[in-house]
């Protein structure tokens, strides 16, 4: 994980003390071989198209990012300042690996990539996202998605 000694002391303490939600975590879905699965990216980095409404504090909804989105059309409006943005400014793939997953599909490592990907904005109580996660599931199911690669910032 991020090395706690690389964080400012106040930030490291905040990470250690953060109240974590209790969620039922026993679910397990059976996978097909990777090269047969259709994969979507779900991020909590507060990403969205330039034409979308930015995220703001308390938002538990999500934005849809089509697979063929040009990196130049992608914005980040995460409400926290406690993480590096210079990496994303240089290369979107460091937090949203859209080009990499496309390459893995072309190489046959995965079966295919979803038509749409999803971003939430993670700096809020995530238990408020449950209903929206069900909506996301419906979007992905309609696209025959099997698997989801998640990451945040």
């Amino acid at each position: 994980m991020v090395r706690m000694d690389a964080l400012a002391p106040a930030m490291a303490q905040r990470m250690t003390d953060l109240v974590l939600p209790e969620v039922e975590s026993g679910a397990w879905s059976e996978a097909k071989p990777l090269n047969e699965m259709r994969v979507a990216i779900v991020s909590s980095a507060g990403l969205h198209l330039k034409t979308d409404r930015p995220f703001f504090r308390g938002d538990v909804d999500y934005r849809v990012i089509p697979s063929d989105t040009d990196g130049a059309d992608l914005f980040m409006s995460h409400v926290s300042s406690n993480y590096d943005r210079s990496g994303f400014q240089e290369d979107i793939n460091v937090s949203f690996p859209i080009d990499r997953i496309r390459e893995l599909a072309e190489e046959g490592f995965i079966g295919s990539i979803a038509r749409n990907h999803i971003s939430f904005m993670g700096a809020t109580d995530p238990t408020g996202m449950e209903q929206n996660a069900k909506e996301v599931a419906a979007i992905l199911r309609e696209d025959n998605v099997d698997a989801v690669a998640l990451s945040g910032v």
Binding site: M1, V2, R3, A6, A8, R14, M15, T16, L18, L20, P21, E24, S25, A27, S29, E30, L34, M37, V42, S44, R53, F56, R57, F75, M76, S77, V79, S80, S81, N82, Y83, D84, G87, F88, Q89, E90, D91, N93, V94, S95, P97, R100, E103, L104, G122, A123, T124, M129, A133, A137, L140, R141, D146, A147, V148, A149, L150, S151, G152, V153
Partner: protein, 245 residues
């Protein structure tokens, strides 16, 4: 925090029948919440796939994440052991653009405004160069140009009763987005020649060596003292922890 949100979202989506695997930036959070499949990485916050412009390294991380999906049973929380390539940050890096001396008096708004505008002008060629090199910019999320966004911050310091410039955004939101554009303009400008500074060097430069940081200090203080609770609530997120009072 994102680090807990991805873990919670993984559980919700797994419950819906999807096979999920997360990148965990704070393993402690993932261990406590519990996920079906997770890859704990030793990268800094903001960089879940490790290194910008290093496609092979990013792909290595993504492949390890995806491979967890073939685990016969779980939960599984694996470690990614490689450090990200350092991108060779110059040890004695300094901003190539010569800026006027930092304007320290945050109560002198006329002076602060002049210093801010002078910095924006001084950085403009570098910002434009970085934008051309990358073929994109992250400045603009407020839907204002840099002049409007920066002016909004000081206009609010002068008068908390100003109206939001965008009828679709509450003032708190317009201010937050303007502050993000303001900081992004600086950090993009110093990358004109590529990623030769580390993220920490860029942050240290902005917060310690620019009048822009003084604008942010005056802005944050005004937010903290605002009568609009949404603005007070938003203020925690305008600067990284420890950079401003």
């Amino acid at each position: 925090m994102c680090t807990r949100a991805v873990s919670v979202l993984a559980n919700y989506l797994e419950r819906e029948g999807f096979v999920t695997a997360i990148i965990s930036l704070i393993k402690l959070h993932t261990e406590k919440i519990g996920v079906p499949r997770g890859l704990a990485v030793p990268f800094e916050l903001g960089r879940p796939y490790g290194a910008p412009t290093d496609a092979e390294f990013q792909k290595q991380v993504l492949k390890q994440q995806l491979k967890l999906m073939e685990s016969p049973s779980g939960p599984v929380l694996a470690d990614f052991d490689d450090d990200p390539p350092d991108g060779k940050p110059a040890r004695d890096w300094a901003c190539a653009v010569e800026l006027p001396p930092v304007f320290e008096d945050t109560d002198d708004l006329a002076g602060l405004r002049a210093a801010m505008n002078a910095e924006i002008e001084a950085l403009r060629p570098a910002y434009e160069k970085a934008k051309a090199r990358r073929g994109r910019t992250t400045v603009g999320v407020s839907a204002m140009n840099i002049e409007m966004a920066s002016e909004l911050l000081l206009a609010f310091v002068e008068d908390e009763g100003i109206r939001s410039p965008n009828p679709e955004f509450p003032l708190a939101m317009a201010l937050k987005l303007a502050s993000e554009d303001f900081k992004a303009y600086y950090s993009e400008a110093v990358a004109a020649e590529g990623c030769i500074a580390s993220s920490m060097q860029i942050a240290d430069w902005f917060w310690n060596e620019t009048s822009g940081a003084k604008v942010m200090a005056a802005f944050k203080k005004a937010c903290d003292e605002a009568s609009d609770e949404k603005i007070v609530d938003m203020a925690w997120g305008v600067a990284p922890g420890g950079r401003l009072p």
